[in-house]
């Protein structure tokens, strides 16, 4: 495994570690976040690299990555569609919205994880409560927020902005 990081990025990682003088291990989450920001996902190499840096066994980084759904193991599409599936949205049609988005974008995969379209343009994924339960079902596309996504027309309309 060889991985080359820009000096800037590596400095950022080292700086984050200094926030945890008692136990380096505690820097694992911040490092994973920085990594995902930089590369979009957490690769196998990333896990090995971070484990080595924090002097822990790689299994303990993998534990974190597989525990938190926000960490991705694979690159995602250009546009990230995050469909809320917590109770209110689930009752309000989250599963229909998710299925509709999958259909419209051609995204494929197991509903439990990120589903990406073959052209790499879209990733559809469930997330937990987005704090707008009154306007269920809700979703985010990239950093924008959309409420009452309850019809295919509405979904089509939204997708036009993300080509």
């Amino acid at each position: 495994m060889s991985i080359s990081l820009t000096p800037d990025f590596e400095k950022k990682l080292d700086e984050a570690i200094t926030h945890y003088p008692v136990s380096k291990r505690s820097a694992a989450l911040p490092l994973l976040h920085l990594w995902q920001e930089q590369f979009g996902y957490i690769s196998d190499e990333a896990i090995e690299f971070i484990a080595k840096k924090l002097e822990v066994q790689s299994i303990h980084i993998l534990e974190l990555v597989t525990f938190y759904p926000m960490f991705r193991r694979e690159p995602i599409g250009k546009h990230h569609i995050k469909v809320c599936r917590t109770l209110s949205c689930a009752l309000g049609g989250a599963h229909e919205a998710h299925a509709c988005m999958k259909k419209l974008t051609g995204a494929q995969g197991d509903d439990h994880g990120p589903c990406t379209s073959p052209d790499g343009k879209y990733t559809v994924e469930y997330v937990e409560c987005l704090a707008s339960c009154g306007t269920a079902p809700v979703m985010m596309i990239n950093e924008e927020f959309y409420e009452n996504v309850n019809s295919e027309e509405k979904a089509k309309e939204l997708l036009k902005k993300y080509q």
């Binding site: 196998d44 896990i47 066994q57 299994i59 303990h60 993998l62 597989t66 938190y68």
Partner: protein, 561 residues
């Protein structure tokens, strides 16, 4: 219980320093005194009772994850001036908490109330059992842990007969290869983390972990890595369920058929205490037996797995004697008479003897008697050095080097060269080899062929047996009685789990009979007699009997050899 000065464990929750102050606790309605700092699981144990638990282990950190040890807890009622309120009998009144607490993570304090059998406690246990079984595959009939599975046992004792879970169970890896000796069935795992904590805390080999979340939690190694530690199989013992199984033992034998015999491992000088699991003539497994002074609750994989030679196809089952260049099966009477009378035709100077650091004290004592009576001048054992480690394994791979020195049979290998040149020059004409291969001790096959008499006592063929004139088939360590002294000078007992195959005999009996056929000495009929005559002659063993050595051994003071 007192703690040895340097325990090999990072945690010893069960061992309290002798001067620990006592506290009063109300245990199931009775006021009792227990050492402060014990947790409720241990308090229950100290009362001869049992609070069911999975994740708690006395040699591992407390992790409190299984919730099986829930109990009802109370604290002394305080009045306005923070003084305990006393009842009619002058005992503190207890205010019971509405919610249960986990026993393993609750250390007792003065005046604490503990109820382990109240309706709340019983109900909680039942609930926890139900949760633990939600995703369990219920494949007990084909599970190797059956018979010693805590999940089965507690489910029948504390659970309810039926599951109310109608949803789909989560699927997980069924036989994942964790390392060279271990397979894991993640569907049976109850996520107690004992294996993970053992690897991390006791072995400092933190390669196990839990991936995924919630119901999908899975104990595993990082992809591509393995749990190949020399002590990995201890996790199989620690695992309360059938999740971790030993590749060597799984599916070989139902545990309830195994006869258990207390003995020691003889694969190195540490002499870990073990339980031999055997059925009929076959040893199926060794498991560590608790002895805080030697191995705590652990043993190494090498020692544990070093049993298969005992049931080898090649074991000698009858005495053999050489006629016109070929070895033929014969009777004990015949072989002993012939070997004895041949041996007598040589003077002590013409005889050499190669004994073994794998022999018991009793065997060595008889060997020394024979050496003295025949006036054998050149004799020794074969030293065996290996790589020790910081945990249990000793660099001395002979289990009884100390015994061999103490009983005067060993010269630490210094005589081996002299024996070799004696054979080369023709001064040595007869050789007795006991449980060793002379070629391992540096003798060549040509040198062996020069000898006029080779008597070999051993259990399987080797170069010496091939050259021998008489082969006396002997017993493996699970087939014999006797004692050995470990590298720390602790004398410990071996017990016979099963008989040696065919006509093979326990070595001490062979030596006794060989001696009476050679020098006429006799009078020893039992191993206890033998030990008694030995302890009468050897000051370090004075006053001891096999009985007194007991199951946990006795530390000798061996300052003067």
């Amino acid at each position: 219980m007192s703690m040895s000065k340097t325990s090999i464990n990072p945690f010893n929750h069960d061992v309290m320093p002798d001067n620990t102050p006592l506290v009063n606790v109300n245990y199931n309605g009775k006021w009792i005194q227990v050492p402060k700092g014990l947790n409720v699981v241990e308090v229950t144990q100290s009362q001869g009772e049992f609070l069911p638990h999975y994740c708690y282990h006395e040699k591992l950190s407390i992790s409190g994850n299984c919730r099986m040890c829930l109990f009802e807890m109370g604290m002394p009622k305080m009045d306005a001036s923070r003084q305990p309120v006393l009842d009619a009998n002058g005992k503190p009144e207890i205010a019971w908490m509405p919610r249960p607490q986990i026993g393993c993570a609750t250390n007792v304090t003065e005046g604490m109330g503990i109820r382990t059998n109240s309706p709340l406690a019983v109900d909680c246990r039942k609930g926890v059992m139900e949760f633990l079984l939600i995703n369990h595959p219920l494949d007990c009939p084909i599970c190797d842990q059956a018979g010693e599975c805590k999940l089965q046992e507690y489910a029948s004792e504390y659970g309810s007969g039926e599951s109310r879970f109608v949803e789909d169970k989560i699927k997980k890896p069924k036989h994942f290869d964790l390392g060279k000796n271990i397979v894991i069935d993640d569907e049976r795992c109850i996520l107690c983390t004992r294996c993970i904590r053992f690897a991390r805390e006791v072995l400092d080999d933190d390669v196990l972990g839990i991936v995924n979340r919630g119901g999908n939690n899975t104990v595993t190694c990082h992809p591509g890595k393995h749990f190949d530690n020399e002590y990995s199989l201890n996790t199989v013992d620690l695992c309360p369920v059938g999740a971790l199984t030993s590749k060597d033992f799984r599916f070989k034998m139902r545990v309830w058929f195994l006869k258990e015999t207390k003995s020691i491992c003889t694969s190195c000088g540490t002499g870990c205490n073990v339980t031999i699991g055997s059925r009929e003539q076959t040893v199926y497994r060794l498991t560590p037996r608790h002895n805080e002074e030697v191995n705590s609750q652990w043993m190494c994989d090498t020692g544990r797995l070093n049993i298969h030679y005992l049931s080898g196809e090649d074991r000698f089952t009858r005495p053999l004697s050489r006629v016109k260049g070929e070895l033929y099966e014969t009777s004990w009477e015949d072989v002993l008479r012939q070997a004895g009378s041949r041996l007598k035709t040589f003077s002590g100077k013409q005889i050499s003897l190669l004994a073994s650091g794998r022999m018991t004290n009793e065997e060595l004592f008889l060997t020394k008697t024979l050496i003295d009576e025949l006036q054998v001048s050149l004799y020794d054992i074969l030293p065996r050095q290996g790589q020790g480690d910081k945990f249990l394994r000793s660099a001395d791979l002979n289990p009884n080097s100390i015994g061999a020195s103490l009983l005067g049979v060993s010269n630490d290998g210094k005589n081996l060269q002299a024996i070799k040149s004696g054979i080369q020059s023709g001064d040595i004409r007869a050789l007795l080899v006991l449980q060793e291969d002379a070629t391992e001790a540096g003798l060549s096959v040509e040198e062996l062929s020069k000898l006029e008499l080779i008597i070999y006592v051993g259990l399987a063929p080797n170069a010496t047996a091939k050259a021998a004139h008489f082969v006396l088939p002997s017993a493996g360590f699970t087939e014999k009685h006797g004692s050995m002294i470990n590298v720390k000078g602790r004398v410990q007992r071996l017990n016979q789990a099963h008989l040696p195959p065919g006509r093979a005999m326990d070595d001490w009996e062979i030596l006794r009979d060989l001696r009476s056929a050679t020098t006429g000495g006799n009078g020893i009929h039992t191993i206890e007699d033998l030990f008694r005559s030995m302890s009468a002659k050897v000051p370090a063993l004075a006053g001891l009997t096999l009985n007194k050595i007991g199951d946990h051994g006795v530390q000798l003071s061996l300052t003067a050899k």
